[in-house]
């Protein structure tokens, strides 16, 4: 059986120093595909916007302190503090949490978010957001849906999708029903329901 597929074996000239790869399309002006290595930086942007970054560095010494470590310098617009890279350094989450709790630092508040009809869950860090409008914008981006306006009397009446959450007592509430701080402390998980599903909620 052949060792390789096609002519690729002969292309692997071990002595060649001109064998270099760039990203597909890197010679063109097209936008590089999103790379989700960067989880968050100081900009309050949604995950999709956060990374116009190229995590693949071809340059040898790329260590100007303070630049994001997933970018080539010339593309780096990130603020001076370090961007956190997903899964780096490689420490299990329970270790991270146990250290952070001790020091009283902000622990990430990761919550599961599901959406009616979507086959998989996402997780978001609630601590990153300061208000409902930020949160809703992120959810809209993440799940490619429109959520619409919240009103105290009507909830999300008329919206195709309605954001709801399960609180500490196991009750399902509309996102926006309680003040933001109360929401932060009582929200266990989020679910974006179809407008029809959510009819029973929000009638408080």
């Amino acid at each position: 059986m052949e060792n390789s597929l096609g002519n690729h074996q002969t292309e692997m000239n071990l002595k060649a120093t001109e064998l270099r790869l760039g990203l597909p399309g890197s010679d063109e002006v097209e936008k590089l595909p999103c790379n989700f290595s960067v989880l968050r930086n100081n900009k309050r942007s949604s995950p999709e916007e956060a990374s116009d970054v190229d995590s693949i560095s071809k340059s040898k010494l790329n260590s100007s302190n303070g630049s994001s470590h997933t970018t080539n310098d010339d593309q780096d617009n990130a603020p001076p503090s370090k961007a956190q890279v997903v899964g780096w350094p490689p420490i299990r989450s329970y270790r991270k949490n146990s250290l952070q709790q001790k020091k009283g630092e902000e622990v990430g508040m990761y919550l599961k978010v599901s959406m009616a009809g979507a086959p998989y869950l996402r997780k978001i860090d609630l601590k990153v957001y300061k208000s409902y409008s930020e949160l809703l914008k992120v959810l809209e981006n993440m799940f490619k849906c429109t959520i619409g306006e919240y009103s105290e009397r009507e909830g999300y009446n008329g919206s195709e999708f309605v954001p709801t959450y399960e609180d500490k007592d196991g009750d399902w509430m509309l996102v926006g029903d309680v003040p933001w701080e109360m929401f932060m402390s009582s929200c266990k998980r989020l679910r974006i329901m179809k407008g029809s599903e959510a009819k029973g909620l929000g009638c408080f």
């Binding site: 597929l5 292309e11 990203l23 290595s37 086959p119 998989y120």
Partner: protein, 589 residues
């Protein structure tokens, strides 16, 4: 020809029972595999008497296939998600569901005694099924698993009359109620090992005390953080025969009687060899464990946020230490002391206390590791987080410890060069693979070019697992590894400029490995399709949360790629962001 005939004659001349008896002394999966390859009759005899099965990738084979070949299995080990799932690189819902296995085994293996799972998803219903299907069930080990709650544990406790071991190491358990422990009936006395260190909430402590004191063979007990220190003494008095103990939070109001009680209780533990736990340590309580220190072979202080002087005082008493896990608070000074006092040390893990800080918060450098490598002749397994490294240090370590088998270095900042010469760390890691001829596992970090992979391909002939991040310049790097490392089984790569060429040029190699993970690299969708088409015994999974890859050009790189060998074809339980590249027979445009 004559030799073959002789062998055949010999094997026919032994009655089956004799062969079976001989085989019963052979436990290792690898050896059992070799036995089964000798001849057809040995294959048959072996498969009927194999008791332990190890499945390194639960998707490599179906439950039905395992059951068909080994009808009398008593112990099964299954692994699910790839290793990088530990660091949140595998999205939620990827897979690793154990349910189909449990359902099949509930019917086929009524005598099953042991289930050991790693990185798998197990539900309460599954736990319930286990509890009710296997009358002689003895051992349940769930390492880094998830999907279950304390209700499932209650069912295990209530129904498994012969349970000996319940180990939930590092699993994510929804902690609904601490009373699950009370479901062990009063008549139940066979517990030997209990590890509940991952549970978030307090268990019912009186129930735990009663359980521990009525089980005379208790050997290992690992409490969770919520277990109060002032109750530990009583617990220990009920089980002075304990060999391995994990404390809860090691802090309490400073009360003299708590301390003296604790010290007295530890004095009574004459068999104690291993300690762990130690969350939230109050240093003044540490001397309570001094009575057991000289006998300790294993010490896990990786949650103990105490400073170097206290660490030195403690570790300095443990001359028999073989394994030490500790935070980098130990600093170079502490490691110097370790090197001087603990001559039997075999394994060292140093974890970072401030992994996301920009500056070093402790005086721990490459020097600490060099000291230990000099002073501890049996040291063969290292996991070391630090912020600076030099080729010289790596060179010294390599020459000091040619017996190294596991070397995992994590320099916290990606692409950090040798801080003295500002060069790459290629030659340092090169020295490691050159001198440590039995190296089985290696994790790289720091600034690395294709050269380091050339060294690895040339020298690391026994290497089985390699982890790479933010390294290399081109496909040449990957090619060196795939073509040179004869024993490579697991390769995991993130954020490296490796693309199609090396993969396609070494496609056949992938069938000799358990798995390959590549994320944030440059492998195109087109290459994935090609691999999937041409190699039917591989599952090529593209993991991409941007949506279906066929909506983008073939040249577009995939986010994540997980390739593993399998004889059971593509799996059917994938979430919406995973696509298996179909082989030729099933390929649809």
């Amino acid at each position: 020809m004559q030799q073959q005939q002789k062998v055949a004659a010999l094997s026919y001349s032994f009655p089956e029972e004799v062969l079976e008896h001989v085989f019963s002394f052979i436990d290792s999966t690898k050896d059992r595999g070799s036995i089964s390859l000798v001849c057809k009759s040995w294959y048959e005899i072996e498969r009927w008497c194999r008791r332990r099965v190890f499945v390194g990738n639960c998707y490599a084979i179906t439950p039905a296939m395992v059951i068909k070949r080994f009808p009398k299995v008593r112990s099964i080990t299954l692994k699910g998600k790839p290793h990088f799932a530990d660091f949140n690189l595998v999205p939620e819902g990827w897979g690793g569901y154990v349910c189909p296995w449990i359902k099949a085994m509930a019917v086929a293996f009524p005598c099953l005694e042991e289930i050991k799972l790693k990185r798998m998803v197990i539900s309460d219903d599954c736990l319930d099924l286990i509890a009710k299907s296997f009358k002689n069930f003895k051992v349940l080990v769930l390492i880094s698993c998830e999907g279950f709650t304390t209700d499932g544990l209650a069912s295990i406790a209530a129904n498994c009359r012969n349970l000996r071991e319940l180990d939930l190491r590092e699993s994510e358990v929804e902690d609904i109620c601490g009373h699950w422990l009370s479901h062990f009936p009063d008549s139940y006395t066979s517990l030997v090992s209990l590890n509940i260190s991952c549970l978030a909430n307090e268990v019912n402590f009186p129930a735990l005390e009663r359980l521990v004191s009525r089980c005379p063979n208790m050997h290992t007990l690992r409490l969770n953080r919520a277990a109060p220190l002032d109750k530990l003494a009583n617990l220990l008095r009920g089980a002075p025969q304990l060999v391995e103990l994990g404390t809860g939070a090691y802090t309490s109001e400073m009360r003299p009687e708590v301390f003296t009680n604790l010290a007295a209780a530890f004095s009574g533990c004459k068999q104690m060899k291993g300690l762990s736990g130690f969350w939230d340590v109050l240093p003044s309580y540490l001397p309570a464990v001094y009575p057991v220190c000289s006998r300790l072979t294993s010490l896990n202080l990786s949650y103990a946020t105490i400073q170097s002087p206290d660490l030195i005082k403690l570790v300095g008493q443990c001359q028999s230490l073989q394994r030490l896990w500790v935070l980098d608070y130990i600093e170079d000074a502490g490691l110097d002391m370790l090197a001087a006092s603990c001559k039997d040390l075999r394994e060292l893990r140093v974890f970072p206390s401030d992994p996301f800080g920009l500056e070093a918060n402790v005086a721990l450098t490459e020097q600490g590791l060099v000291s230990v490598s000099e002073g501890c002749p049996k040291l063969h397994s290292v996991l070391y987080f630090c912020r600076q490294m030099t080729n010289a240090a790596l060179n010294t370590i390599a020459r000091n410890r040619p017996n190294m088998t596991r070397f995992r270095l994590c320099i916290i900042e990606p692409r950090t060069p040798d801080y003295l010469t500002l060069q790459s760390l290629d030659s340092g890691f090169g020295a490691i693979v050159e001198h440590c001829k039995d190296l089985q596992r290696l994790s790289l970090s720091g600034l690395l070019t294709d050269r380091v992979f050339e060294h690895i391909g040339t020298y690391a002939k026994k290497l089985e697992m390699l982890s790479v991040a933010f390294a290399g310049d081109s496909d040449l790097g990957l090619h060196h590894v795939l073509s040179g490392c004869d024993n490579l089984r697991k390769l995991e790569i993130r954020d490296c400029p490796f693309g199609d060429k090396a993969l396609l040029a070494n496609a056949a190699k992938l069938e000799t490995m358990r798995s390959l993970w590549m994320s944030s690299c440059s492998v195109s969708y087109g290459a994935c399709k090609l691999l999937g088409q041409k190699l039917p015994r591989l599952n090529v999974e593209v993991i991409d949360e941007r949506g279906p890859p066929n909506l983008r050009p073939d040249s577009n790189p995939v986010e994540k790629l997980y390739i593993y060998r399998t004889i059971s074809g593509p799996r059917l339980d994938m979430p919406g962001y995973v696509w298996t590249m179909e082989d030729d027979s099933a390929y649809l445009e």
